[in-house]
């Protein structure tokens, strides 16, 4: 595809509470072996984009840790590659990225030094599988200046998204960011297709005016001036923007159709390999409706839960409706219900961690109880 990719993965989301105390939202662990970023990154690579930049800022360490090599996403090539951009100091700039547009502008060389005529911009915290090629063809054929990928909201809370109003030709009429009174039920997925030169021109004209945001300062402000089209996506899509959606996105993997979409149907979502041994189930293990990660050792009961890599559960321990992240150790005779246990947590024997079905209890990283 004649496009380069930009993934905006620098944001924080306060609604993810303690889970993002030490990681970026794009680094949230999903589905037993993935990180949220893997989905957009794999989609780009699978769509034939071979030059992708990931823009990081908030808790960027967690993402740099994940992106130590480009080869897992087939981006380890000479004519392209994976570029990871974080804020930097220079003679004439000592700012953090002040917004999404500023983040791209501060790395404008990535755009000016490329030859591909188009840019696809995505966010790093959505779980979905999409071939951008179809939207790309639509963008080229419809001669749009910008194409926004949209979907009809289902369970999504419209107040949390950019809501678009379109005409019968899918042309954008209005765009409201997180509206109080939404005018439609079509939301933007935060995926945009734009020509590279137009993007450079827009950035160069808005930044000197102190405008730093791609949505507010380009999409909303230019919505009448530019020919902005929308392209509807009909597949599974979940945004990781609050505890509930994070919890649901993981539990969705227990649904065979959704799991198969990502794990059994070509093209696949790629992630950094773990090199852990296969999970082991000892004599007391009893598992129902769970995802179990590599290298885990199970001695107890688990039901309707998502367990990540190298989790250990002790004897007579019961885990229900919970997420347990990498390397957490749950001792004997524990009860874990409606909980999100972050990485490397140690629960000593007999501990009870019980949340409510509406609001899972969170045990933050490295906690020892």
């Amino acid at each position: 595809m004649k496009a380069i990719g930009i993934i905006l993965a620098g944001g924080n989301n306060e609604k993810l509470e303690l889970l993002t105390a030490n990681r970026a939202a794009a680094a949230m662990p999903i589905g037993s072996c993935y990180r949220a970023l893997d989905f957009t990154l794999s989609n780009m690579s699978n769509s034939g984009i071979n030059k992708v930049s990931v823009i990081t800022q908030y808790n960027s360490r967690s993402l740099h840790n994940h992106l130590t090599s480009a080869k897992w996403w087939n981006l380890g090539s000479k004519y392209g590659g994976l570029f990871v951009f974080s804020p930097y100091l220079s003679n004439n700039n000592s700012f953090w990225f002040r917004g999404t547009a500023d983040a791209i502008y501060q790395n404008l060389l990535f755009l000016t030094r490329s030859n591909e005529p188009y840019v696809i911009i995505g966010s790093g915290n959505s779980v979905y599988k999409m071939d951008y090629e179809e939207a790309f063809d639509f963008h080229v054929e419809s001669k749009a200046d910008i194409t926004i990928i949209t979907k009809e909201a289902q369970n999504e809370n419209l107040h949390d998204y950019g809501v678009v109003k379109i005409d019968e030709n899918n042309r954008l009429i209005d765009f409201e960011e997180k509206p109080i009174e939404p005018q439609s039920n079509i939301i933007s997925l935060g995926i945009y297709i734009i020509s590279r030169t137009l993007l450079i021109n827009l950035l160069e004209s808005i930044l000197p005016q102190g405008r730093y945001n791609f949505v507010e300062d380009i999409i909303v402000r230019y919505r009448k001036k530019l020919n902005i089209m929308t392209y509807k996506f009909n597949g599974y899509w979940k945004n990781i923007n609050c505890i509930k959606s994070y919890y649901d996105a993981n539990m969705d993997f227990l649904d065979k159709n959704i799991r198969d979409l990502f794990t059994k149907q070509y093209p696949f979502i790629e992630t950094k390999p773990r090199d852990e041994a296969p999970p082991k189930y000892n004599i007391g293990a009893k598992i129902k409706n769970c995802l179990i990660g590599s290298g885990s050792i199970m001695n107890g009961y688990a039901e309707h839960s998502v367990l990540f890599c190298k989790v250990f559960t002790g004897e007579n321990t019961s885990i229900k409706n919970s997420i347990v992240m990498d390397k957490s150790y749950i001792g004997n005779n524990c009860v874990v219900e409606n909980a999100i246990i972050d990485k490397e947590v140690i629960l000593s024997d007999g501990k009870k961690i019980i949340g409510s079905p509406d609001k899972p209890i969170i045990i933050s990283k490295n906690t020892v109880l």
Binding site: G31, D275, K286
Partner: protein, 423 residues
């Protein structure tokens, strides 16, 4: 090429004929082990964990799966611009092609590969065994003793010593004699087929021996010749887990041993990881109707049935109502509803239909191959298709995708083997 201190030559061309149908379509080093691994992963991981970054892999018998598995060596971090993994297949020289006719002959034919790295030492290993070993410690020993060759040995039971190549040593473990399968063993130090040579000395020995033996072999020719010329050979004692999974029974029991609560061979420690090639990292799913314990189940599996005391490879599907016990199921196989499998080995990409029973009846040794299949284990070969409602006995061998089971039945000890299956 930059000079290397030590490089490894990994012999991976063996057939492993006692593994029967399991090694029909792939070399023994490519046979899966421990769920997600292949046998060669253990030696390859030992190399990189020991700091050896240049490995020549000598292939000959059925190399396709092995080549695909190793690729350019990415899973072992052996994709390197200087060194890394190199597949060394037999090739034409001048006008004539020549197979590798012996272990030492295979190395002899690749002298120019080794020379290109100008190494001080060469580690010669085979991809047939399951063990974890730090070759760097063996190298230190080799240097300390100022050896020309160091041979790793394992203390075996005296009454089993007649099955091995035995090193007769003095009180300092200096080797003075090598005996292949001696009737009256003088020692119980068995060669593990792991050698470190000072390259200069090995190079000369290979060239000299090639003039005498067409099928130059380390045990039979090179080691005795080096001893005859009074070179310095030492035995390096190894006392940890080491298994030659060369027979159906030993292959099965070594796998089964892994599912114990505290197995002798630990796959779960962090400091000596075993690396393998997997297509994609995926989660595994254990369904509502599943009942599993005492097993190892690899990533990508979907389990809806009962699985006890089993080792399952990648992407295996076990449907509802199916009962699996004491069995090995390799990658990408599907076992459909309401089947019962007891004590069997299912190779890769096999489909077992509904209501199939395997492992029923009396323990009658296989009629065609009684020496290979005689411990009650039935084996279903790669890419086979077993239709619904078939009953298969003990010590049976099944291989093929268009098999005709008479009366839906294969009695114990019988074989049903097609010449070819679609890959």
């Amino acid at each position: 090429m930059r000079k290397k201190d030590i490089i490894a030559m990994l012999l991976a061309g063996g057939q492993g004929s006692r593994l029967g149908i399991l090694s029909k379509t792939k070399a023994k080093p490519a046979v899966p082990f421990g769920g997600k691994y292949r046998i060669i992963d253990f030696t390859l991981s030992n190399c990189v964990n020991s700091g050896i970054d240049t490995v020549g892999i000598l292939t000959q018998y059925q190399p396709l799966i092995l080549n695909r598995h190793i690729g350019i060596g990415i899973p072992w971090d052996l994709d390197r611009s200087n060194g890394g993994a190199t597949i060394l297949a037999p090739h034409l020289k001048g006008t004539q092609g020549e197979w590798y006719s012996g272990t030492a002959n295979a190395i002899y034919q690749n002298i120019s590969y080794i020379d290109s790295y100008n190494p001080e030492y060469v580690l010669v290993i085979s991809g047939d065994h399951i063990y974890k070993m730090d070759y760097s410690k063996m190298l230190e020993y080799h240097q300390e003793k100022n050896c020309d060759a160091t041979i790793a040995v394992l203390e075996v039971d005296w009454n089993e010593a007649n099955r091995f190549g035995i090193m007769n040593t003095d009180e300092n473990d200096k080797i003075f004699e090598f005996e292949e399968k001696p009737k009256n063993p003088k020692n119980n130090l068995a060669s593990m087929g792991i050698y470190i040579f000072t390259w200069e000395k090995l190079r000369q020995a290979l060239i000299d021996d090639n003039k005498i033996h067409q099928d130059s072999d380390f045990g039979k020719h090179i080691i005795p010749a080096m001893l005859d010329s009074n070179q310095n050979l030492y035995a390096y004692r190894f006392d940890s887990y080491w298994k030659d999974v060369g027979t159906i029974e030993s292959y099965w029991s070594a796998n089964m041993e892994l599912v114990k609560a505290l197995p002798n061979f630990n796959l779960y420690e962090d400091f000596w990881k075993i690396y393998t090639c997997v297509d994609h990292q995926v989660p595994e799913y254990i369904g509502d109707t599943a009942d599993i314990n005492t097993c190892i189940i690899s990533e990508g599996c979907e389990i809806y049935g009962q699985v006890y005391n089993c080792v399952l490879g990648y992407n295996v599907v076990v449907e509802e109502g199916t009962f699996l016990k004491d069995s090995i199921v390799m990658a990408n196989s599907i076992i459909k509803k309401n089947s019962v499998l007891d004590r069997c080995i299912i190779d890769e990409n096999v489909t077992i239909g509904e209501n199939v029973k395997i492992g029923v009846g009396d323990n009658i040794a296989n009629v065609l191959e009684p020496k290979i299949y005689n411990t009650g284990i039935s084996v279903i070969g790669e890419n086979s298709f077993v239709p619904d409602n078939v009953t298969i006995g003990k010590n049976c061998v099944v291989f093929g995708d268009e098999l005709n089971f008479q009366n839906n039945c294969l009695e114990s000890g019988q074989s049903l083997i097609m010449d070819k299956v679609k890959l």
